[in-house]
Symmetry: C2
Subunit: 596 residues, 2 copies
C-alpha cells in the first residue's frame, strides 16, 4: 500500500529560505509565522496526513461512498479522521482571527493543503470546499450571515459546497435555470437541480452550507441575472444550533473514474430556504472569489498527487531489481540491479521531480501574492500582487493539473505491470489526478480565461507586471556567474513569451479564433517561463547556502541538478509551444463541422 511522507525539507527551503516569510512581517499573521512556528505546523500536518489520512486512501477508493435514500455515508474511518482534523484546529489555520481563525499566512496553508491532497484526495476535498465557501461568505455576505455561519465553518463543525453546474450547463452558466423566489422576510425559495456537487452530502459534519447560484425571476437574462445564495442543509437557529431540515436532498451520487471517497452529488432543491450573498444579479462576482481560491487549490492538487506518486514510484524503483546498469553491474553481488540504474526510469522520475519542485515554488510564490493582495497595507503592493495572482491563477490551475496528471502516469509507468494493479495504488493516483484537469473550469477554459480576460485586462497591466518581475530579476542577477546557466534560458524563454504575446495582440484582435487556437500553447509557454523564473530564484538561494557554512550541502546540490534537468529536458518545450501557436487558427478550424 502506498505511503506518504510530506516533503518537509523542500517546503521549509521555500518558505524560510527562498521566499523567506520573515521578510514580510508587516503582513498580518506573518510576524507569528517564525521558522519555529512554520516547522511546528508543517510537522504536525505531516504527522496527521501521513499517519491518519494516507492509510485511509486506498481503502477509501475501494469502498467509495454509500447512498441510501438521500443519506450519504463516507468510507470507513473518514468520520474519525475528520474528528481528528477538527480537534487539530486545521480548518481555521489561515482564516480571519475575527471569526475564530488563526490567520497564519495563506502560503503556509497551501503547504498543508498540498499534504492533505497528497495523502488522501477524496478526504481533503471535504474541508477544501468548506474553505472556498468560507472565503466567499466572508468577502460578500452580510454581517449577520457571517456571524451565523463563519465561526461554525472556520471551526470545521459545518462544511461548505459550491453549486454551479446543472444538467444542461457547466461552463456556460448563463444558461442556468435554478430559481430563487423572493419571500416577504427577505429570504428566498430556491428550486432547481444541481449536479456534480462535490461533498454535497456526507456524514462528516453537523451541517452542510451550500452556496448556490440561482436566478431571481424578472432579472436580466444570461450571466447578468445570476445571484448567489446560502442554502443550509439544516436551518440554523439564531443561537447557532441546527434546526429543521431545509428543502434540499441528495438524489444520487455519481459513479466516477476516481475520487471515489468524495461524494459527487445530484442535489434537488425544492423550495429550499436561502439567503442572498452580496447583491442581486451579482452572483458571478461573488462566485469568482470562491472559484479563484478553488483554482489555486486545484492547481495544488496536481502538485500534491505528483508528490505522492513520485515518492512511491521511487520506493518501488529502489526495491525492484531487473537488468543491469548500462555501464556494467552496479551491484554485482545481487542477481540484478535496482531499476533506478536505467536511464529511462531516471528520465521519468526526474521529469516528475523537476515538475514537483518547480511547481511547488511557483504555487508558494503565488500564495505569497494572495497574502500581499489581501493583507498588505500598501495600495500599490496589493495591486501588483493582485495582478500577478490574476494572471498566474489560470496558469497554475491548468499547467499544474495537466503535468500533475502526466506525472502520475509517468510514476505508474515505473512499476511496469504492477502499476496497473490496484493494490499498488499507483493507478488510483492517475484516476484521482484526472479530475483536476476538468473541474473548477476545464483547462481549456483556464487558457481562455488567461488569453481572453486576464491578458487584455487593464491594457495588459498584469502581463507587463509579470515580465517586469522577470526582467528585474534577470537584471539584478546579470553578474552572478553562479546562476548564469539559469538566467540565460529564463531570459530566452521570457523573450519567446513576449514574442507570443505580441503575436496574440497582432492576430487575436483581427480574428479572435487566433487567440482561441493559441490559448493552450500560450498558457503552457507562460507556465514554462514562470517555472524558469522560480528555478532561477531557487538556484540563487542554493548557491548562497552552498557558499555559507551551513550543512545540508547535498540538498542544495541536488536542487541545482534537478534544476538543470528542468533546463535541459523540460524547458525546450517552450519553443514548440511558440511555433504551434504562431501557426494560427487556420489548421485548427479548417474542417467543416460535418467532416468530423
Amino acid at each position: 500500500m502506498p505511503t506518504y511522507a510530506a516533503p518537509l525539507r523542500d517546503m521549509k527551503f521555500l518558505l524560510n529560505e527562498v521566499i523567506d516569510l520573515q521578510k514580510y512581517s508587516d503582513l498580518a499573521g506573518y510576524a507569528e509565522a517564525t521558522p519555529d512556528v512554520i516547522e511546528a505546523v508543517l510537522e504536525e500536518a505531516a504527522k496527521f496526513t501521513g499517519e491518519v489520512l494516507a492509510p485511509l486512501n486506498l481503502p477509501g477508493d475501494a469502498e467509495g461512498c454509500h447512498w441510501d435514500n438521500g443519506v450519504v455515508r463516507t468510507p470507513k474511518g473518514f468520520k474519525a479522521a475528520y474528528d481528528t482534523y477538527l480537534q487539530g484546529g486545521w480548518q481555521g489555520l489561515t482564516a480571519s482571527a475575527e471569526w475564530g481563525g488563526q490567520e497564519l499566512p495563506q502560503v503556509l496553508g497551501l503547504a498543508v493543503s498540498e499534504m492533505m491532497i497528497a495523502a488522501n484526495w477524496g478526504f481533503a476535498m471535504y474541508p477544501g470546499l468548506t474553505k472556498g465557501a468560507t472565503e466567499a461568505i466572508e468577502a460578500h455576505a452580510s454581517h449577520d450571515l457571517k456571524k451565523l455561519y463563519l465561526p461554525k465553518m472556520i471551526s470545521g463543525q459545518w462544511s461548505g459546497t459550491m453549486n454551479l453546474t446543472e444538467p444542461h450547463c457547466g461552463t456556460d452558466l448563463g444558461l442556468l435555470r435554478t430559481k430563487a423566489e423572493p419571500q416577504a422576510d427577505g429570504s428566498y425559495k430556491i428550486t432547481g437541480t444541481k449536479i456534480f456537487i462535490s461533498a454535497g452530502e456526507h456524514d462528516l459534519t453537523e451541517n452542510i452550507i451550500h452556496l448556490v447560484l440561482a436566478r431571481i425571476p424578472g432579472g436580466p437574462e444570461g450571466i447578468k441575472g445570476i445571484s448567489l445564495f446560502i442554502v443550509p442543509k439544516l436551518l440554523p437557529n439564531a443561537d447557532g444550533s441546527v434546526g429543521a431540515r431545509n428543502g434540499v436532498s441528495c438524489a444520487r451520487i455519481e459513479e466516477k473514474m476516481g475520487i471515489h471517497s468524495n461524494a459527487t452529488c445530484v442535489l434537488n432543491y425544492e423550495n429550499a430556504t436561502g439567503w442572498l450573498v452580496g447583491e442581486q444579479h451579482k452572483g458571478m462576482r461573488a462566485m469568482f472569489t470562491m472559484m479563484n481560491e478553488a483554482r489555486l487549490a486545484v492547481g495544488l492538487q496536481g502538485l500534491g498527487i505528483a508528490q505522492v506518486a513520485y515518492e512511491n514510484a521511487v520506493a518501488y524503483a529502489k526495491e525492484r531489481r531487473q537488468g543491469r546498469a548500462l555501464k556494467g553491474p552496479a551491484e554485482p553481488d545481487q542477481p540484478a540491479d535496482s531499476i533506478l540504474v536505467h536511464p529511462d526510469v531516471r528520465r521519468m522520475l526526474m521529469t516528475v521531480r523537476a515538475f514537483i519542485e518547480g511547481a511547488r515554488a511557483l504555487a508558494f510564490w503565488t500564495g505569497l501574492q494572495v497574502d500581499l493582495a489581501r493583507r498588505s497595507g500598501d495600495d500599490k503592493t496589493r495591486e501588483r500582487a493582485g495582478d500577478l495572482l490574476a494572471i498566474l491563477t489560470p496558469v497554475i490551475k491548468a499547467y499544474l493539473t495537466d503535468k500533475g496528471f502526466e506525472s502520475t502516469v509517468l510514476a505508474q509507468q515505473c512499476y511496469g505491470g504492477h502499476g496497473y494493479i490496484r493494490e499498488w495504488g499507483a493507478e488510483q493516483f492517475v484516476r484521482d489526478a484526472r479530475i483536476a484537469q476538468i473541474y473548477e473550469g476545464t483547462n481549456g477554459v483556464q487558457a481562455m480565461d488567461l488569453v481572453g480576460r486576464k491578458l487584455p485586462a487593464d491594457s495588459g497591466r498584469a502581463v507587463r507586471r509579470f515580465f517586469g518581475a522577470i526582467n528585474g530579476f534577470c537584471e539584478e542577477n546579470k553578474d552572478d556567474k553562479n546562476i548564469a546557466e539559469f538566467i540565460a534560458p529564463l531570459a530566452a524563454t521570457a523573450a519567446q513569451l513576449q514574442d507570443a504575446t505580441l503575436w496574440l495582440v497582432q492576430n487575436g484582435m483581427s480574428n479572435p479564433e487566433n487567440a482561441g487556437a493559441a490559448a493552450h500553447d500560450y498558457l503552457n509557454l507562460m507556465a514554462l517561463t514562470a517555472l524558469a523564473y522560480v528555478w532561477a530564484m531557487m538556484a540563487k538561494t542554493a548557491h548562497e547556502k552552498l557558499a555559507g557554512n551551513g550543512d545540508d550541502k547535498a540538498f542544495y546540490e541536488t536542487k541545482l541538478a534537478t534544476g538543470r534537468f528542468f533546463l535541459n529536458r523540460i524547458l525546450p518545450d517552450a519553443a514548440t509551444h511558440l511555433a504551434k501557436l504562431k501557426s494560427g487558427a487556420a489548421p485548427v478550424m479548417a474542417l467543416a463541422a460535418d467532416a468530423f
Copy 2:
C-alpha cells in the same frame, strides 16, 4: 453509452488507394484481396464489432470477470459473442491455408484487429492472444505439434496465451525460475508460478493452450537457458479431442485499473505436462516471434481506442451546447452553440484525428511489410521489408500506445465533467488504453530495443533502409508542387532524425547511458518522421484523386486539412525531441540514488 462505427472510408482509402494491395498480387493471398473482397470483409467486421462487441463493452467493464475456485467466468454476453466470432471464421482470416486459415493479407487483418479493440478491448484480447500463440507455434514447433494444435487454434475452438512474467521478473526474463524437467517420453514437467497472464483462464473456449517460458535444469544461466513449451489446460487426445486436466490452475485474477473484462491471471504450474517448442534453451527466439507480432498488435490497440474515443467525443461535442463562437453566434436561434465551435475543443479533436489517421497509415504500411517479409518470393524484398518491420515495430508499439492513451485523455476532456462519469464511457477508454503502454514490454523497453538493438544491428542496415525509403520518396516527388508543403517538412524532420542518429553513434558508444537517456526522444523523433512520411504519401494520393473525375472530394480535402494540422500542430515536437536528446545523459543521471 458509447457506440462504435468502424472508419471504413479511411481504411479503404489506405488499403485500396494509398497502399493499393492489388499492386502486390504476387504475394500469397493478395490476388484474392480484391477491392470487393476487402470491402466485404471490412463491412462484415464493422457489423460484428459495432453491433455485437461494442454494446458489451461498458457492461463488461462494470461487471468484470469472476473467479471461483480456479474457474473464471467472463462477463454476461461474452460467450455468445465469441460463438458468433467463431461462426464468422474471423480467427483464421490471415492464418495459413495449410492449417485451415484464409491466408488473406495481414494488413487486412490489422484493420479487423483495430475494429475489435475499438469496439471491445477486453473481448478482443482473448482471440488476439490466440493469434500470437498460433504464429509462434507455426514458426517454431514440430510438425506433430502443429498438426495437433494449429487447426483448433486457427478455428478459434481453442485459445492461446503467453506466459513470461513471474512475480520477481518481467522485463529481465533471465531471472525466471519456472522449471521444466525432461521426461522419458520426450515431454516435460513444468512447475512454477506465472503472473499477469492475460486470458489465462476463461469460459470462452474448450481448451486453452499456454505457451510457457521455463528453464530446463542443467542449462545455461540467465536468458540463454530459457526454453519455450506448449502447456495445454486440457491434454489433447491424439484425435484432437480434449482429455484430462493438466497441472495448471488459476490461483487468482487481478484487480486492475481497466480491461476488466479480460481475466489477468496468476497461473500455478505443478508438474504440468508440456512439450518443447523449437530448440532447448532457444526459447527467447521463439517467444520473440510471438512478441513482435504482439507488439504490432498492441500498437494497433493505441490506434483503435483513440478512434472510438474520438467518435464518441465528436458526437458529444456536436450535441453539447455551451457558449458562443468567438466570431459571433453560429446558431443564433439556439440558446448556445455546439462546443465544436470552440477552438480549444477543435484543437483537442484535431490532435486526436491527425494522430489516428497518421497512425493508421503507418500501421497498415508496416503491416504490408509483414506480408512482404513473409510472403515475398524475392530474397531482397523479404530482407528489406524485414528490416523496416524490425525498426518500426518498437516505434509503433510505443508511440501509438503513448499517443493513443493521450488521445483518450483529450477525448475525455471534451466532455467536461461528464467525461469523468462512468456512464459516458470516456473514462473507460482512458483506463483501458493505459495498459498498452505497459504490457508486451514497457514503452521504455521499446525505446531501448530500438536504440540498443535495432539501430546497431547489421551495422545500421535497417535505419539506412528507413532513410532510403524516405529520401527516395522525396526525390521522386520533388517536382510535385501539390505536395511540396508535405515534402519539405518531411525532409527537414528526416534530417533531424539523421542528426540524432549521428549523435547517438558518436555519443552512445563512449557512454551507453547517452543512448539510454536519448532512447525515448529518439523513438518519438523517428515516429514523427515516419508519420510525416505516410502523411506525404496520403497527400499525394489525395491530390491524385482530387485531380481525377471521382466524387468524394470532401473526403480528400478533409484529409489534406488534417495533414496540415499534423504539420503545424504536431510535427514541431520533432525539434524539441532532438534538443532534449542532445543534452545527453548528464542531466538525467546526475542524482545519487539516495537523493531520490
